[in-house]
């Protein structure tokens, strides 16, 4: 990697200042507009994955806290849902604006708690978070135009459980449409990344949001399970693993709860021989190394047409050698830390399986920091459909390269997975893009680009990648009685 080579133009460290954000030594749960301790007094520590330094101690929600939070949300629902849409809109616009104002602070916080590069939190996560609130703010007084009837009604209390890979962005995807449509929210952030959600609670305070409309419960899986199972929750929204998603589907069986699930993926990035090669290389890199590959829609399977395999792999390896891995707060870092020791262990075991099953492993020369959780960008060639690394979601910076000969074969291989979240198509031929896109069983198809997100654009999966869509006009449906 660049940081390890003796290049003449060596970039000096360019660290973003950590002092732009004040992290308190401890945080409570945010229930009914107040920070409060957990009923049983439990706390847990959140650490910086790049250094293993403890950032703060956070109250850990349990079943009793879920009870309190749902009650607060229920109480707030009556007046919140009765507000004219234009008034709800203005609260959401306020939140969007405050996020924009405080985005540097939030970017640093997110990078510290999650381990992802500041370049990404600054240029991707935070702008998307603010944009998402802006977009749904605008829907709050236009629901009658959204195609769900003249006067669609909210559902009630939404229980939302989000993952650690895009903590604040997933919060925005959940909370913005819920509030715009008139629901109130109890949200559980992931146990490894609770801080930005707790800062968001403070943003709600600055925006003057009525108490109880948004409640934040940091905690573990048990709290999430209690929230999902709570009888007074009308809507469940979950982003995370397919295994937990199935558990949730079982839990809500036989109830009237509306559910949306955004789960795992094993996205195929299909490169045809007439692709714009330099841009395809960038798209492949972005597809699997963005956020260290800890992205449900990552392009983790590269399907390359055999006739250009060698040329493409040469270019790809050359490009990987320029990636800069290291301190996530350094503005020049491309690859940050893996979010947790647990995740690192999962990546390591799948990569070991890949090697054991006979695939060929390659990484650029790369020095890993001595503390924290790190994994070098990794590429596997000689991968077949039967290998675990071609089938299981690794959720790490690991790309499996497979080849194909014809468009038919590419589509067949791309679809040959229980997942169906995303896919990429690289070719300069428009009709091929559309023909292939038609046949792919995936919810988001990127052509000559990858990992693009926009609040106006619906996102979600086919098959075991979940159901329901978030984003866009379609994203309203999940929170309306339609």
């Amino acid at each position: 990697m660049a940081s390890a080579s003796a290049s003449a133009f060596e970039y000096a460290p360019a660290p973003e200042s950590r002092s732009v954000v004040d992290i308190a030594p401890s945080y409570g749960l945010f229930i009914d507009g107040e920070f409060t301790e957990a009923a049983d007094g439990k706390v847990f520590k959140t650490v910086s994955p790049s250094t293993e330094e403890v950032l703060s101690e956070v109250a850990q929600a349990g079943a009793e806290d879920v009870e309190r939070a749902v009650k607060a949300a229920r109480k707030a629902f009556a007046s919140w849902s009765a507000l004219p849409g234009s008034e709800r809109a203005k609260y959401l616009f306020r939140i969007a604006r405050i996020i924009q104002e405080r985005s540097r602070e939030l970017a640093v916080l997110e990078t510290l708690d999650n381990g992802k590069p500041i370049k990404e939190t600054r240029d991707a996560d935070l702008p998307l978070v603010a944009a998402h609130f802006f977009y749904y703010a605008g829907w709050a007084d236009k629901l009658g135009h959204a195609g769900y009837g003249a006067n669609p009604r909210p559902l009630g209390v939404a229980g939302q459980v989000i993952p650690w890979n895009f903590p604040l962005l997933m919060l925005a995807w959940k909370i913005a449409p819920a509030l715009a449509t008139g629901n109130t929210v109890v949200l559980k952030p992931a146990e490894t990344t609770p801080l930005s959600a707790l800062f968001f609670a403070d943003i709600c305070r600055q925006a003057g949001l009525p108490k109880g409309v948004v409640n934040i419960l940091p905690g573990y899986g048990d709290a999430g399970a209690a929230l999902v199972a709570h009888p007074d929750v009308n809507k469940v929204a979950f982003t995370g693993s397919t295994a937990v998603g199935k558990e949730i589907a079982r839990t809500v069986a036989g109830t009237h709860k509306k559910v949306t699930l955004e789960l795992g993926g094993k996205g195929a990035n299909i490169v045809f021989d007439d692709a714009p090669i330099d841009q395809a290389v960038e798209g492949i890199v972005n597809g699997i190394f963005f956020n260290q590959g800890q992205v449900c829609c990552a392009g983790s399977r590269l399907l390359v047409q055999e006739s250009i395999e060698e040329e493409l792999l040469d270019s790809l390896k050359r490009r990987l050698s320029t990636l800069r891995l290291g301190d996530p707060l350094d503005k020049n870092t491309d690859i940050g830390a893996i979010n947790s020791a647990e995740q690192l262990a999962r990546i390591t075991s799948l990569v070991d399986a890949g090697q054991a099953e006979g695939a060929e492993r390659w990484s650029p020369a790369c020095e890993l920091p001595s503390s924290g959780y790190w994994f070098a960008p990794t590429l596997f060639t000689q991968v077949t459909q039967a290998h675990r690394i071609a089938r299981d979601e690794i959720f790490g910076p690991v790309l499996s390269v497979l080849t194909f000969r014809t468009p038919d074969e590419a589509v067949a291989k791309a679809n040959n997975t229980p997942y169906g979240l995303s896919a990429g198509i690289w070719t300069e031929k428009g009709s091929r893009i559309l023909a292939v896109a038609n046949k792919l069983r995936a919810g988001v198809i990127w052509s000559n680009t990858f990992n693009k997100f926009d609040p106006t654009s619906p996102f979600g999966g086919y098959k075991e990648s979940g159901f329901g869509r978030e984003g866009g006009r379609h994203g309203l449906e999940a929170y309306l009685d339609v």
């Binding site: 003449a8 060596e10 970039y11 460290p13 714009p276 960038e282 020049n332 300069e428």
Partner: protein, 318 residues
């Protein structure tokens, strides 16, 4: 570095107009959004402290300090030459620029001004900037500059012929100019990317120029609305990278026009660093065609040395 263009593996493609067209149109396409996004992303690199000092000195050493005005006089060119040799008279550790770039009739004055230094004299030629003249006239222009002592010739291609698809004509013209350079002068080929309009055209022109023996490929004359941009320079860097991989021949790149600040220049150096690497981080292989850029680099250099922001009164106006 092997430089004889006829020695490489692609000689066949220039054997006829149709084979040349097939080759150029067979190059991989360029997706504009992706190219521009990559250039913009590299533009967010944060170059600080020691890296910045290194980059500023490198950038100064890569400047082709340029004056191409109808009002140019030997006096103006002498001043420019003095500035090129000692860009900052108060600080002799400041590197000299790579070259001064002038019209052919100003070459003698420029030669005199930079005599005894490392600074080269580059001359635009071939009916710069429009390139609308008969080949004889263009070649005479080149010979005139070379015989006056020009070390480098910056020629313009016939954009009309290129856009009309007469690639072989453009190729042969470059070859003829290269021959007129007589083996002593290095040839920079200007595409006027703003007039070629599409990135596909810029990639094709880059390969065309290199096939015809260009020592450098250069974006622009500085005389049209769109000159050097991070995206078109990135694309040309990819072209020289791929050309060397195929032929073993290394070709230089010169963005020109519109690069006015140190910040801009450093972004271009990042493009070089991360696209083609250190082999090109040298003024033999990368240049900036610029005039006002130099003073901004000098002010930034002073800022790094003193910790204070400098002002235009502390650099020379030439």
């Amino acid at each position: 570095m092997p430089t004889a263009p006829t020695a490489h593996a692609l000689t066949d493609v220039t054997s006829s107009d149709s084979s040349l067209r097939r080759f150029l149109h067979g190059l991989p396409g360029v997706d504009a959004v992706g190219l521009e996004a990559r250039a913009a992303s590299l533009g967010t690199r944060s170059i600080k402290t020691t890296a910045k000092a290194y980059a500023i000195d490198l950038a100064i050493s890569m400047v082709d300090l340029t004056t191409l005005e109808g009002a140019d006089t030997p006096g103006k060119v002498r001043a420019l030459g003095a500035k090129a040799v000692h860009p900052d008279p108060t600080d002799r550790t400041t590197p000299a620029t790579a070259a001064v770039c002038v019209y052919p009739d100003m070459v003698p004055a420029a030669k005199e001004a930079v005599a005894g230094s490392t600074v080269k004299v580059a001359s635009v030629a071939t009916a710069f900037p429009a390139g609308r003249a008969a080949l004889d006239v263009k070649l005479a222009d080149v010979r005139d500059a070379v015989s006056a002592g020009a070390d480098e010739i910056d020629m313009v291609i016939d954009r009309g012929a290129f856009l009309a698809g007469h690639y072989l004509k453009v190729h042969d013209e470059i070859t003829a100019v290269k021959e007129a350079c007589g083996g002593s002068a290095r040839l920079k080929v200007i595409f006027e990317t703003g007039e070629l309009s599409t990135y596909d055209n810029i990639r094709r022109a880059s390969w065309l120029g290199m096939l015809a023996g260009a020592d450098f490929i250069k974006t622009s004359t500085g005389k049209v609305a769109v000159n050097a941009t991070p995206a078109n320079t990135l694309l040309m860097l990819e072209a020289v990278r791929d050309f060397r991989a195929q032929t073993g021949v290394q070709v230089g790149v010169k963005p020109a026009g519109g690069i006015r600040t140190s910040k801009d220049a450093i972004k271009f150096l990042v493009l070089v660093n991360e696209t083609v690497g250190e082999d090109w981080l040298d003024n033999h292989w990368f240049r900036f065609g610029a005039s006002s850029l130099l003073n901004d680099l000098l002010m930034q250099r002073q800022k790094l040395a003193t910790g204070r922001y400098s002002g235009p009164d502390y650099v020379t106006v030439d």
